[in-house]
Subunit: 394 residues, 4 copies
């Protein structure tokens, strides 16, 4: 029996995405922070497979191929060693096989993905950018992924090109398009609502936001997108794949600007209860593709699935090891911990950081540069000490 | 060529432990919070194996068998379903095989482990407690683990019994003994220093502290132990396996008492830089077994290994995906993130929590009950609603 | 030589207001929190006079008569005992005499003041409300105050009535009109900009905001007012009299809604350096009447005057006891305190609260009731225990 | 009828001190931060008198002459201009007259005071130091103050000399001796307990601690003093005059070391409810002279008196303007504020700072220099720019 497709699922219920591969695998030792490229699919396929399995077990209905930033121009950016050994196609081929293998252990779909390119930042124009996309898309088509996600785009201009490429090269595949923007809109000053409308016009079937902001901020921006889409007469499914980090203090460019990015974000990690709230609020807003991005670990996704138990009609497999709302604590040795085995305790807890010398909020670095600024030009060479010193002094 | 043994390694250098299995596997969906028992070795061996590999890759010199709380009395405590399917021996056998398999992929040792028992809390006496230990020890002897760890004991009386059992049943095996106490000492009021001396007298070769407190607190307590051991004329190696959570506000019973335990601890998670500091301070105090407990993920252990690169003469395998002190950020797309590719940035960062409605510190639940109190008696039945309501009202 | 009038001063420079009498005198023991009425002018005139002198010395160009909430309907509200002994006219007469006495010790102007009334909350209509105003205005006219301030109005409808009354009863007196609103506008949903325009239309010469919010929020709202006034073709002077408390977390009704109001606001008190920044930002926005409200003590006003030294051409008398930007610390005994005698130290300091068990921000009580709701009807009787219990349960 | 003396009062009840003159008058514009000398008694006697009256009204049983740091060597320290105009004797004479005048408006006692000297810091020896004391004591004897307080001493050696001087020059006067130390003891490393014993041996009748630390820390140190006194066989009254600022993070030298001292301490200011708790805990520890130091304003002292209403048999005059435990809020206009008119609301409130970019705690400057170090030598000249720059660089 063939699996139900993405749109069919969204029309009739809710689809849960999977979590953040690059951050989770960085913590497990398989991805390098900085380049953030997915050569682990070739180098350590068992680690990638294991993480897929954990998300499947947590309730994910989609296995996203681990192909983030696998464009050839990115693989050779700023001294990344990955490109000496692998092409993007090699990485993506492995990613597709792993994702499909695990998807078939359950009822999950496989989604291919493309994201923003150094070529765009370097101002090389539409043709050059789409060429990068197309090299990647070929692998997804060959592997017959169930649908495509264009995600992590900061400029609406580039995601429109991406959607167009998918539309052309992957006929018949549903397209989900996600920008990594907040309520302030894209880096060139296009409003969040207008971004949504342009993605819809380009042909995206599912429209949303991923990465860069916490669930609260992502939903605030999605609300603007929803209003603009409605006003423009579009009826599209909405998609949210927020960070697993609290970012009330982030500025336009999201958590990248926060001084804690990427090695001091721990105090911002969501609790599972934050994820319950996120799932409910997303659902109430009408979002039907409720997913996750950097910072989301399997237990965070499980919390989404547990919150939506009624809507989905089931609990995820992983819940066999999780008492709902703390219920497992009934089995704890200490009586005062057993006393926490109740929903209102965890819903109302305001967790302390154990860091009295740290503030709650940070002032973001706001350099305000974006595509078009010379500072954002990319290069194949690794940043030198001299370059670094110039940057420190800014 | 046979591997060098534990004591030999400690005498000539530093040994890095592995991290916290129950917490890491709970987040991955394989361990249930509440009972915290390790039946995953049977149910999902590939998940346990993968975590071992990540710690090996991160620099761990020891693979601890995932046998925490696998005593038969614990497996059947308070409605734990594990005991319906498995005996402790079954779980431990699998744990030994997995640990040995991964240890042999590198140069790591395998350590068996026993911990405190419900039998002790129920006041059933030395013989009954030791019988629980001995059932577990048999598996470790049969599997020829390299050494034994008695860990997570809140009462020195019980750990002394444990060390005695190991001494008798595992002849020739080095013994490491770790209590989960802080500077205030054990739950019966025995000082930290006196606890250390009693462990030494009972025959432990390596003496230390695991779990319950953050590195700062564990090292403060180890300092007291070191002084007491020296004063009593013992020369023993010291061992630290602290939490990967900040707990400046914990009271005598550690993070168990904090209101965030176990489902709201995220804001307290250590950064990798916290682990660098921990490794250095532990080393400077003379601790030579520098390990980790609940909350430590592979990248935390890698940070210990990176801090001790000079002392160990090498970097761990996992560092191939980690630029030292943020160096990988030289390869980041954004110039202001590249500007963070330097040690002093990360050493001085005070990370914000993104939680302005949460305080820094919590008031612990201090019920002050310990072995001997009726409230701590354990039972096979799961806590009922009625029992729970009585507890809430306290 | 007659003193220069308000408008003349505003046209040619900057006017500094005085600080918050009710809060300062509450802390000194002369005003009761709850009713907040100014009977101290009769009961303890020397205390009122001393506070006036301190503000004069701090650089205030205006002595506001201490007549806040001195309408007869307020004096007898909810069991206030003041009305048994004094009429509003008696209190105000004394207030005028004291203010004039101190004003003449320097070059300050005297401003009379009226504020919102229980009569309005009780929905008794324009005529009844204006009758309350007119009883007060008579005293100000008799005493020839230099100008009038209508301040602390939450509903634009009522302040328009107030401005009209002043216009009619105090011919020739300049009128300053201040609402206690933030960027969200008045309690009936009128926008901040529209409020400003209506005040201008009613005849106010100086338009602004007092109380309820911190300087940042007040200036954000004033920016909206300025834009609306410009758009409507009005050229009016702007006035700011914000709180001396940080209120980033206040909702529409300001600090009244914060759980700390009024007896736990201490951690929110501005530093003198916060006041420097306020003065500069207000000036840069074009505000020329830069004053203060609840929470501002004399040293806060002095900081305004010191920041505007160049613009005003002088330092206030009180600066003889204050080294600029910490300069007085050069005379401190301890060398590390002397090291703080510099501007950048104090400008960049992020002061800690010493309260690790308290959060940074509070969730406001948002009952959302306003004029027109039965809950806001006032009465002469003190709230009974029974009434209170009903309120707690809400 | 003559007033009851200090010891008689302490034997039969509790004595409430007055609050912090230098800090309160700095905020009012009459004292210069840095030198902190009390020339306001001559320059602005009405301001000093008013503050005395407020404390009397708040419940203070003692009017301390405003003579802090009025030794001649201090008046001419580091460019203080006070010494060009006044001698210490002139300042103290005025201080005595004002204090007596206000004390006689109630039933308060007058206490003279001496404190630590630059002469001691300069290492000029016992004779030179006592000569400074004696010049001051003469005025107190001439004015027949009711008792003497030696306070604000960081070195027990110097306070012993002070007590000896008082004993010799002020025959018959009770002597209270207060060091400004915490549980870590004096700056030369003498323990808190030993300090207490030496003060007792020197002849002090009342022994305690003032300034430098918050109530919690002061009471912790007083507990050590009490134990040591008992052990040494002394029966002395205990005295507490803590700061009105929270200082959990201060190091040995107290709030002076905190980076917020003295111009950023606002977020640390105690609430009135903190003072209730302080009064109760001090009383329960057996402290009978319960006073206050820097940061305490009249309403803080009133809170002490209100907490001890039962013990003292009366409320202070100032409570006519203060409903107990928030009771005055029954008269507030807004219903949600009326709902706060109850004890448990205020006792349990954890007040937010409104400063999400600030941490809870600070790292103190710990230069660790003390009497004997060249850096602490004092001089008549003001610190030069060059000197300052050397200090910054430390």
């Amino acid at each position: 029996m063939p699996k139900k497709g993405l749109i069919e699922r969204l029309d009739s219920g809710v689809v849960i995405g999977d979590g953040g591969f690059v951050f989770a695998l960085e913590k497990r030792g398989y991805v390098k922070a900085g380049p953030w490229t997915p050569e682990a699919t070739v180098e350590n396929p068992e680690a990638v497979r294991q993480l897929h399995r954990e998300f499947l077990r947590a309730g994910s209905d989609v296995m996203q191929t681990f192909t983030f930033y696998a464009s050839d121009d990115k693989l050779q950016n700023r001294g990344n060693e990955a490109q000496k050994k692998y092409t993007g196609a090699m990485i993506n081929q492995q990613a597709c096989e792993i994702a499909r293998e695990v998807a078939n252990e359950g009822d999950a779909l496989v989604a291919g993905g493309i994201s923003q390119t150094p070529t765009y930042l370097n101002g090389l124009g539409k043709e050059a950018v789409q060429k990068e996309f197309e090299k990647q898309l070929k692998v997804f088509v060959d592997n017959k992924v169930d649908f495509m996600i264009a995600e992590y785009f900061e400029h609406v201009e580039e995601i429109v090109w991406a959607v167009e490429s998918i539309k052309q090269k992957c006929p018949g595949m549903p397209i989900a398009a996600n920008m990594c923007i907040g309520p302030e809109g894209d880096m060139h000053g296009v409003s969040a609502g207008e971004c949504a409308v342009r993605m819809a016009k380009a042909g995206a079937d599912v429209i949303g936001i991923n990465c860069h902001f916490d669930p609260d901020t992502v939903l605030a921006a999605l609300r603007l997108m929803k209003e603009a889409l409605t006003k423009a007469g579009f009826k599209k499914h909405l998609m949210a794949q927020p960070l697993g980090f609290k970012t009330p203090d982030a500025s336009k460019q999201g958590f990248i600007d926060l001084p804690e990015f990427p090695f001091g974000l721990e105090p911002r990690i969501l609790t599972r209860w934050d994820c319950h709230r996120y799932a409910r609020e997303a659902y109430d807003l009408g979002v039907r593709y409720i997913g996750a991005c950097c910072g989301f670990e399997p237990y965070h996704v499980r919390a989404i699935a547990e919150e939506l138990q009624k809507e989905r009609g089931c609990l995820p497999t992983g819940s066999e090891k999780h008492g709902q709302w703390g219920d497992g604590l009934r089995q704890h040795t200490k009586p005062w911990v057993r006393a926490r085995a109740r929903r209102d305790y965890w819903e109302n807890l305001k967790p302390a950081s154990g860091r009295p010398y740290c503030a709650s909020m940070s002032k973001p670095d706001e350099w305000g540069v974006t595509q078009g600024d010379a500072m954002l030009k990319q290069q194949a060479q690794k940043t030198t000490d001299e370059d670094l010193q110039k940057l420190y002094k800014k």
